[in-house]
Amino acid sequence: MKGKLKAESLNSNNGLPFILGITDQETVKLDFDKTPFKTVKYWAMRTMKWFKLKGFIILKSSENSYHVVFDKRVSWNENMHIVAWVCLLSQHKALTKWFLMQCIKEGSTLRVSAKKEKPEPRIVFRYGSQDGMIAEFLAYRKIVKSIIAKLQRQKELCSLAIKT
């Protein structure tokens, strides 16, 4: 096999062969890859103030990679309007690529599980209101995380049974 490994044999952080994420249309999300925290915070703050998005959280997905989730509920059109505005002004290539993919899917996705050597995204910064879409996002994230934990437990039990 060239350039690939069987997912099961590869010891990724959560032991899952696939990636789990959350998709929806009404939450404004941004994916900043290879961007320092200061820049991410600047764009999150500027976007929140310009579009009156109430509040935001920043999740660190890996070294110099961050996700931003905003608190205000918006329509899909408005959501893409906001992300396109950030892409145009920030001239961020990775974000623009992510934005195009979300347009194709008609739903924006952010990763919840670990991916290869990258760990699960964790919250590193909170600002403003948190009881709207952020609360919903975090509640759903909790469900996904519990599913991941159950799968991991099941896998551990299976490996123990094979050993014995």
Binding site: G3, K4, L5, K6, A7, E8, L10, S12, P17, F18, I19, L20, G21, I22, T23, D24, Q25, E26, D31, W76, K97, W98, M101, K105, G107, T109, L110, R111, K115, K116, E136, F137, Y140, I143, V144, S146, I147, K150, L151, Q154
Partner: protein, 101 residues
């Protein structure tokens, strides 16, 4: 709109090989047809499930997704997927490869 769980990645699956053949029609035109042979080939591609539904169903669907690889982009309720997984996926194995969200 409801929130959905995205299950995505690259996978390997075995699919039936299609064979091309020609048939002379009554009006004299040669028509091309395809038929599925018994031979199989291993394909490697990426796919994605978008599951929505209740927590327990989502969990069961995620377990099922270990076995059944999505046929491209599959947007389905977890309940429907559990009732008929063959309709939405093919049997195969997930592989680890760089994949965008």
């Amino acid at each position: 709109m409801v929130k959905k769980i995205a299950v995505y990645g690259s996978y390997e699956a075995k699919v039936r090989v299609k064979q091309r053949y020609w048939k002379m029609r009554k009006d004299g035109i040669k028509q091309r047809y395809w038929r599925k042979t018994k031979r199989t080939k291993t394909i490697e591609q990426s796919g994605r499930y978008e599951f929505y539904g209740k927590g327990r169903e989502l969990y069961k669907a995620t377990i099922k997704a270990h076995q059944y690889m999505p046929r491209g982009y599959v947007h389905v309720s977890a309940k429907q997927f559990l009732e008929n997984p063959e309709k939405y996926g093919l049997e195969g194995e997930w592989i680890e490869r760089e994949i965008e969200s």
